[in-house]
Amino acid sequence: MTATFRSWTRRTILAATLAGALTGAAITHAAPATLLNVSYDPTRELYEHYNKEFVRYWKAKTGEDVSIRQSHGGSGKQARTVIDGLPADVVTLALAGDIDALVTNGKLLPVNWQSRLPHNSSPYTSTIVFLVRKGNPKGIKDWGDLVKPGVSIITPNPKTSGGARWNYLAAWAWALKQPGGSEATAKEYVRKVFSNVPVLDTGARGSTTTFVQRGIGDVLLAWENEAFLSIKELGPDKVEIVVPSISILAEPPVTVVDKVALRRGTRDLATEYLKHLYSPEAQDIIARNYYRPIDPTVAARYENQFPKVNMVTIADFGGWTRAHQIHFADGGVFDQIYQPH
């Protein structure tokens, strides 16, 4: 009887295992592939448009559905969120330094991530301009006008915002190029700039809200695309763009977050998602959202949209790692010069 019962037991275990497997299969029903794109503040509209294009493109190419979710915030803050566990398949942040943090602090992708896609993994560029009130009542023409008495400046916090870091470095670059310009004069100039900042938002979109919707400040140091977008939304009778004598070439990079994408089985899809940013269709969407396309043909088509600007690059600061250490790390120049109001 014992042998019979043991045989019965084996059969029941087999049946239970099979039932469990079937239950599991029923629970994990097939669903369309999903991607999470963790980006910085002002790219909301760009990626809303681009995601639709990519979904269409992917369906036509493979017949598969894909669902793409977006997350936006200050670039530095977004990077920390991904390091803390937000499962981003791709990141499209404001500066390479924030993605480098994913390498050094999160071990989420390889060191050579920036060489994996063309143009240092930056499918579009932008720069920093001034947005002032209609008629430019404070007569702001260049960086030097920002530190005149009574000028109120709106810019986000460089500790949390990639755009703010570009703002900061552009101001620093201008000060260095002034007659007698040195590290000391640049530091003093930037100190004065930030002493005229009444509110530090955590991201560029927050600063735009502060300036445009809350009516605070005389000038907004803004991403070029953000400035154009404000004019488009508010109308040219409310605000206008001032292009300073010198600005900085912002190269917002993109990359697959390998560790997450491998775990989720989305690495190939995520790579295609980013590669398609370089296609003519995507480059056109990029230009229509006021980012500067890198495709020469598309760039030529939108040549008149973007003003000519004399620009420095991050290389002039020794790269993002060095710029971060000197200016934005804890105890860096920004911590030394900024006093909250």
Binding site: F5, T23, P198, V199, T202, G206, T210, R214, G215
Partner: protein, 512 residues
């Protein structure tokens, strides 16, 4: 903007700012009190300056305004907007911080730490019972009159990722340390909860009731015939918003009334045979408008498997009287070596237990019946072994009545007026009564000296009536007093009736 417009806007702004300030102060005072206090002071200063400017403007209204006044007002307007924006950003920051901050809770329901999204939780719980036992009869030994720590059970339980539950509960009572519950469960779907580890086997109704809701200090006689805590894997689920529930598990197979920690080799299978245990239960009116029947529940539990003991490891349990005195159901070894003539489990073990509870307003009822059938054998000589199936049965009816009007329930109660010192509130008072019986199969006594049970030691039946008074000072603290009389059919020398057992138990219990 004209000055009159500015004036109106400013009045509106001030109201908005003050409202925002109050909201901020209330909502975030504990988080950023210093920053808010600073902002409030600056806001008050702005308010005073604006009031002064407005007074000046009103005085000059007839003669027009100056450019200086306008510039000053615009400057003030900017400052107000800045303060407003700072409030707004502070609020956003506080809300963001609240979203990611873990929350610690301490309440009568327990102590817990939870992640901001509530998907990861750890709770610290406990169950403490200190009993006094007195016997008002001449049968029970005087040594049974005692104070004792009946339950000393701290518990850690929690949830990971929103679906994986765990529980670890040791018991340090009785001068020993055992693991009472240790399991993990995955709540995949309402109908698919997979649980593995050590926990109560899903057969007996009163046995499955949480300790703090048991009406009597000790469980009724039916619980002597169902498994207590067992080791295994269980599938459970619910359908129809709790109208139907079920459990089906594959266990090592605890013997009647005990946990696997009482095995001669604790918490492992002692015979290599497994046991299916399961239960289906329904509360058919739980979602209906017939309130009088909403708390009616009934179902059936059962188990099936083999139990293969031996004369040296019989795998047959004793029973406990209502006064918790142990009585052997089956004969132990009385032969001289090498023969061992103890009765032992030797084959099918089957239980079934129809069960029911009902409550309406402050009245509650619980009833269950258990039949436990076990194939047993006994070696009566070097060449002869007797075998048979013994069907032991038990049943009980239990009544409860909250004198203070609280609603009775199988799994909850709410003390309407918790006990307070120097204030009104006497807690909840409950009267309870029960009648329960246990019968040992007549077949166990057949065969004279070769029977499986000894009529001089094992009663053919136990019947008991008990009454009790429960004082729930609040949800966590209760005091109990139970008086119970048990009568025995047989069980004494010469097959005479064992004397009545009259037990008076009291308990101070704390559960959180």
């Amino acid at each position: 903007m004209r000055l009159s417009d500015t004036h109106r806007v400013r009045s509106g702004s001030r109201s908005k700012i003050l409202a925002a300030a109050i909201m901020m102060s209330l909502g975030t005072a504990s988080v950023h009190a210093d920053e808010l206090s600073d902002l409030r002071q600056r806001l008050d200063a702005q308010e005073q300056q604006i009031r002064a400017l407005e007074q000046k403007l009103e005085a000059r209204e007839a003669g027009g305004t100056t450019t200086t006044d306008t510039a000053k007002l615009e400057e003030q307007e900017q400052q107000i907007r800045v303060l407003e924006r700072k409030f707004e950003l502070q609020q956003e920051a506080n809300e963001a911080a609240a979203k990611s901050a873990a929350t610690a809770k301490a309440s009568p329901k327990g102590f817990s730490l939870a992640s901001a999204d509530g998907r990861n939780v750890v709770k610290f719980k406990g169950n403490f019972a200190f009993d006094g036992r007195w016997f008002l009869d001449d049968v029970t030994p005087d040594t049974a009159d005692t104070w004792l720590l009946r339950k000393v059970r701290p518990a850690f339980e929690g949830t990971l990722y929103g679906i994986f539950d765990f529980r670890l509960q040791p018991d340090f009572a009785g001068g020993k340390s055992i693991i009472l519950d240790a399991y993990a469960a995955a709540r995949l779907r309402p109908w698919a909860v997979i649980q593995a580890g050590k926990f109560k086997g899903p057969v007996g109704l009163e046995r499955l009731q949480a300790d703090q809701f048991n009406r009597f200090m000790e469980l009724g006689l039916p619980s002597q015939l169902v498994p207590n805590r067992d080791m295994g894997v269980q599938w459970s689920g619910a359908a129809g918003k709790g109208v139907f529930t079920w459990q089906l598990g594959y266990f090592n197979g605890a013997t009647d009334g005990i946990s696997t920690d009482s095995n001669s080799s604790p918490d492992v299978d002692n015979d290599g045979e497994k046991q299916w245990q399961g239960r289906v239960f329904t509360n058919p009116f739980a979602q209906s408008d017939i309130y009088a029947l909403r708390n009616l529940g009934f179902g059936i539990g059962g188990s099936y498997g083999d139990r293969l003991g031996s004369p040296t490891s019989p795998l047959l349990a004793s029973v406990r009287t209502p006064g918790q005195q142990s009585i052997s159901v089956y004969r132990t070894n009385t032969a001289t070596s090498p023969l061992n003539n103890a009765t032992y489990a030797d084959g099918d073990s089957v239980r079934w237990s129809p069960q029911l509870y009902y409550s309406w307003n402050n009245f509650g009822l619980l009833s269950e019946y258990v039949e436990s059938s076990q194939d047993v054998s006994r070696q009566i000589s070097a060449t002869e072994t007797r075998s048979d199936t013994i069907d032991n049965t038990a049943w009980q009816v239990q009544l409860a009545w909250f004198l203070t009007g609280e609603d009775e329930s199988y799994s909850s109660f709410d003390t309407q007026n918790p006990f307070r010192v120097n204030a009104p509130g006497w807690g909840a008072w409950e009267l309870v009564a029960r009648y329960h019986e246990l019968h040992v199969d007549d077949a166990a006594f057949i065969g004279g000296a070769n029977s499986f049970s000894d009529p001089a030691r094992t009663p053919r039946s136990i019947s008991a009536v008990g009454v009790g008074l429960n004082w729930y000072l609040n949800q966590n603290v209760k005091w109990q007093l139970d008086y119970e009389v048990a009568r025995f059919d047989g069980g004494a020398a010469g097959g005479a009736d064992r004397g009545d057992e009259k037990s008076l138990f009291t308990r101070f219990a704390l559960t959180f």
